[in-house]
């Protein structure tokens, strides 16, 4: 008897479907049962069995007719920051409770039914929408208007955020893959906290069309899955130029799976990573780094070394500055992006108001949660007349310098590696009183976000309480292939990514 269906990843399920050993309908039915039995996790905001089964039936029919894209019929769930036709799109906010989008996000369409006759999609089946921090603002998923998500490894712990529902659902084996978005670490950090693999590609690889905007110059979509291989398959389907997003990179579509598999020139059977120079920024290993995290990361680095990679010391001197820089730029953009939620055309409108101004104030006061309000206020402040130069402009200058620092590093190395977060997942409620503590924990993910570089979290072992620890890999622009290659090599040599939390899946 082979492994239960929910234990299989994207590549495994694609093979089973291709061999006819399982149908998409069976798969979807099984996983929907798992989801229904795991409500206490809080990962899913909505499922629509009828909708999903209709897609699965159609996928099976297409497969029966002839050759189909490899991922046809494989289930996926979407972070509720992506708008979807047919399923409500809320961004985890009361402001958008029940909002029905008339269109699918580009990423959703490409993974699913495609963008019309001339651009068929990957044919994956949407299993539902996943919980997240409100408007993707947060790093523990406690800012969702629809309740927190629990970490499948320890129900008293947070799953990370803002793509907390995505990471938890994949870790709990409720779905083989999920989409996420990463503005300052929102794919990598929850992937690390939940022990799954996640990649945030170079800014511009995935279209932002249909992603409810948080900070436009930083937001980037990416997959969370059980392995680097699965991420490579998903990213190939998600990415590529989109004329509807002016910031999307005008490059031909990439086959990340092929790039992942391509052997390095100097590779040997025992040392597939021979010749790869992995830079370790000394600022990524400060005293404040939790000992258990450091130990797991160092062990994973030693494994990379054993696989042939060379570890080199590098420096990202402005790592600490990335926190204030990010917490000026992201809220500034957010304060403007969230202005459209005014209660006029859609979304929450207060039941009673005296006049127009009062309607705005009440609707937004009622519709937004405290973290969103906090960031709107910060953003409004830093863009205000007389403060713009001191805050926003200064932050933009530093942002450029941070990007330059990375380029200096890439003179001496091919990849940068370090921890994703300073600690393992914290307890629910632990950082409620002091949001700045949560901001500080973003220190290792923010630099790559500000520079627009691709970053990845790869399971690297376990720390305190048996909680997962992620290894962060950062590549140069559009070097996703190299990131995936290194991660894949590590996953062929280790099994951290195969561990499942006890009692997961609800099966």
């Amino acid at each position: 008897m082979s492994a239960p269906l929910h234990e299989l990843g994207v590549a495994g399920l694609a093979r089973q479907l291709q061999l006819g050993q399982v149908s998409s309908v069976e798969l979807v039915q099984h996983l929907l049962t798992c989801v229904a039995n795991s409500e206490q996790l809080g990962a899913f905001l909505v499922t629509d069995p009828q909708h999903s089964l209709a897609q699965a039936t159609a996928a099976d029919a297409r497969r029966a007719r002839g050759p189909v894209p490899a991922l046809t019929g494989v289930p996926i769930a979407h972070k509720d920051i992506f708008v979807t036709r047919g399923l409500p799109s809320t961004a985890g906010s009361k402001m958008l409770a029940g909002y029905a989008s008339p269109f699918d996000a580009t990423v959703v369409a490409r993974l699913g039914e495609g963008e019309g006759e001339h651009a068929p999609g990957a044919g994956m089946v949407t299993l539902g929408k996943l919980n997240c921090d409100e408007f993707a603002m947060g790093s523990d998923n406690e800012n969702s208007a629809f309740g927190p998500v629990r970490n499948p490894w320890d129900a008293q712990r947070v799953p990370g955020g803002s793509s907390g529902g995505s990471a938890a659902a994949v870790a709990a084996r409720l779905v083989p893959a999920a989409t996420g978005t990463d503005t300052g670490g929102s794919i990598r950090q929850p992937a690390s906290f939940c022990g799954v693999t996640g990649i945030k590609p170079t800014y511009g690889v995935c279209s932002r069309y249909g992603m409810i905007a948080f900070a436009s110059s930083l937001d980037q979509a990416g997959p969370l899955a059980r392995s680097a291989e699965d991420c490579a398959l998903l990213l190939s389907a998600m990415g590529g130029f989109d004329p509807r997003d002016s910031t999307s990179a005008e490059r031909p579509a990439q086959d990340y799976h092929a790039l992942m598999l391509r052997p390095r020139e100097e590779a040997t059977a025992a040392q597939p990573l021979r010749g790869l120079r992995v830079g370790l920024p000394r600022e990524f290993f400060p005293d404040a780094l939790s000992g258990d995290v450091e130990a797991a990361v160092r062990a994973a680095l030693a494994e990379l070394e054993r696989l042939g990679a060379t570890l080199v010391d590098v420096s990202l001197p402005r790592t600490e500055l990335s926190i204030p820089v990010y917490y000026i730029i992201a809220p500034a953009e957010a304060s403007s992006n969230l202005s459209r939620f005014d209660g006029v055309r859609y979304g929450h409108r207060a039941a009673e108001y005296r006049d127009l101004r009062h309607m705005y104030e009440r609707s937004r006061a009622e519709g937004f949660g405290p973290e969103v309000k906090r960031r709107i206020m910060i953003g409004t402040y830093v863009l205000s007349h007389g403060y713009y130069d001191a805050y926003y402009l200064q932050a933009q200058k530093l942002r450029r310098m941070i990007a330059d620092d990375f380029q200096a590093c890439f003179q001496d190395c091919d990849l940068i590696a370090g921890p994703v977060a300073p600690t393992v997942a914290w307890r629910l409620g632990e950082k409620h009183e002091d949001p700045v503590q949560a901001y500080l924990a973003d220190i290792f993910t923010l630099p790559a976000s500000l520079a627009g570089l691709p970053g990845m979290s790869v399971p690297a072992g376990f720390g305190h309480g048996g909680l997962p620890v992620g290894l962060q890999l950062i590549g140069n622009y559009f070097e996703e292939g190299q990131l995936l290659h290194a991660a894949h090599a590590l996953q062929l040599a280790t099994d951290f990514h195969l561990h499942a939390p006890a009692g997961a899946s609800g099966a």
Binding site: F103, S216, S217, S335, S339, D342, L383, Y388
Partner: protein, 482 residues
């Protein structure tokens, strides 16, 4: 040049900000139509409604029109310009911000020459930038509620900002008219002021001659030249009244009420918005390569000034006529066609300025709606030149052509009996009769009274029932009188 005319001892200083709606078919950041007059909200797509997840994509046609304008006013077309967000809340502003250009606009500098009496005055332009229009709030018809129509939201605008170079309402109107003519000429704007395609904000201040600039007040949204003039005139008197009463002028935005002819304050500087401008992260910097500018330059129509000069030089038209022929591009094209068909530039211009313009104005028609085919008009002018028909007769033929939207000129002359006498023998006989019957006039003429000659010509015309060619009659009379 003389100093500016003073009003009650004050010099008036005016700068205009003009919003020209660009003539693209789709909106500046979405694919929705810009057609005017559709049912509310039928031309607003997901992007215009600012639905969650939507993003702007710049319409290159709007940029191309901005480049065309920039070249026409000899401005710098910026190789890199930046779109910025202007943040404020209003129900007809769907995103909660307007995408505009702030620090680095697409068109920088430039100038426009206007006629002030007999002289030309150069008005400097500060800049012209691309931006999107907002929707409309409809306060009537909804019983205490406000309706929002987002059809106009996202319509491309070019905001053209002048330096404060105008010194009277008349100059401001001249500038606005010249600018209007130019954008229409260039085909970048349809110029329809009733539909709001071209509207002006006037920044007005007054000062003692030689003194520092006064505080300006901005009159918003003037959509006719008459309102522009009235609003400025009112504003100038109001400001001078205040100064003479010892009261300060506060910077303010004011609206003009066409019914009362007065301006009233909309908001003062204190409650001015902090728009929190910042570069729009959804739109990369607008890069305009030199090749793009060159391509637009090559495709541009000749500018009115250059064309008028050409008409003076090559066709021998007087300056006034040349200016009239270039009042609009279609007018100039009609002139060129008529001139080429009849080979009589001055007569072509006379007809266009005379009968043609008179009838067009009377019937509120545009030159593009001229009912008389150019070929017929050219044939008619030919018949005047060769003496077949008199000017008076030609006017009658023209009326017939107008009424019938064309026709055969020769057949009409024949049918109306307007053909002038061209048979020299018959005319000679009439001349002989007139000379014989008017001996006294002949005597007087020979005694040196020139007036008597005119009387004889009149008699010949009368005897020929108007069909004699006056020039021919003149010549015959002179010859016979020796």
């Amino acid at each position: 040049m003389n100093g500016p005319a003073l009003i009650r001892g004050f010099e008036v200083v005016i700068g205009l900000e003009t919003h020209a709606q660009l003539s693209t078919r789709s909106k500046i950041f979405s694919g929705a139509s810009t057609q005017f007059g559709a049912a509310p909200n039928t031309q607003a797509c997901a992007v215009d409604l600012a639905l969650p997840g939507t993003l702007p994509v710049l319409n290159r046609g709007a940029v191309e029109r901005a480049i065309r304008f920039g070249l026409a006013v000899q401005a710098k077309v910026a190789p890199l310009s930046i779109f910025a967000r202007k943040n404020y809340f209003y129900p007809d502003l769907p995103k909660g911000y307007q995408i505009s250009q702030y620090e680095i606009p697409v068109v920088q500098g430039g100038h426009l020459d206007i006629r002030v009496g007999e002289q030309t005055k150069r008005i400097r332009l500060t800049r012209a930038h691309l931006e999107e229009d907002a929707g409309k709030s409809l306060h009537e018809d909804y019983a205490g509620q406000t309706g929002i129509d987002l059809n106009r939201a996202g319509t491309p605008l070019l905001e053209i900002v002048s330096e404060p170079d105008m010194r009277s309402s008349a100059e401001a109107v001249e500038y606005a008219k010249a600018l209007h003519a130019l954008v229409v000429w260039l085909g970048v704007c349809d110029g329809n002021m009733q539909e709001g395609s071209f509207r002006c904000d006037a920044n007005v201040s007054v000062r003692r001659p030689g003194g520092p600039l006064g505080t300006r007040r901005e009159v918003k949204n003037l959509n006719s030249f008459r309102f522009l003039q009235q609003a400025i005139d009112f504003e100038v008197q109001w400001q001078i009244d205040r100064i003479e009463d010892g009261l300060p002028i506060e910077q303010a935005t004011v609206l003009f009420d066409p019914d009362s002819g007065e301006t009233r304050a909309m908001r003062s500087k204190e409650d001015a918005h902090d728009y929190r401008y910042f570069p729009d992260p959804d739109l990369p910097p607008l890069l305009i390569a030199p090749e793009w500018v060159e391509r637009v330059r090559v495709e541009m129509p000749e500018l009115p000034g250059a064309m008028a000069e050409h008409f003076q030089r090559a066709d021998g038209l007087p300056a006034y006529d040349a200016a009239m022929m270039t009042q609009s591009l279609p007018f100039a094209r009609t002139y060129e066609a008529l001139r080429d068909a009849c080979v009589q530039p001055k007569l072509a211009a006379n007809w266009l300025m005379g009968e043609v313009s008179k009838r067009l104005n009377a019937e509120s028609l545009d030159i593009t709606e001229l009912p008389v085919p150019v070929a017929a008009l050219a044939a008619l002018i030919g018949r005047v030149v060769d003496g077949t028909v008199s000017n008076n007769g030609a006017r009658q033929v023209f009326d017939a052509l107008w009424a019938a939207r064309g026709g055969d000129v020769d057949a009409l002359i024949e049918a109306k009996g307007l053909k002038q006498m061209s048979d020299v023998g018959a005319l000679e006989a009439i001349v002989d009769e007139v000379l014989a019957a008017n001996a006294r006039s002949v005597e007087e003429y020979r005694a040196g009274k020139d007036k008597a000659f005119n009387a004889l010509v009149g008699q010949v015309m009368k005897a020929s029932k108007g069909k004699a060619n006056p020039a021919q009659a003149n010549e015959l009379l002179r010859r016979k009188l020796g």
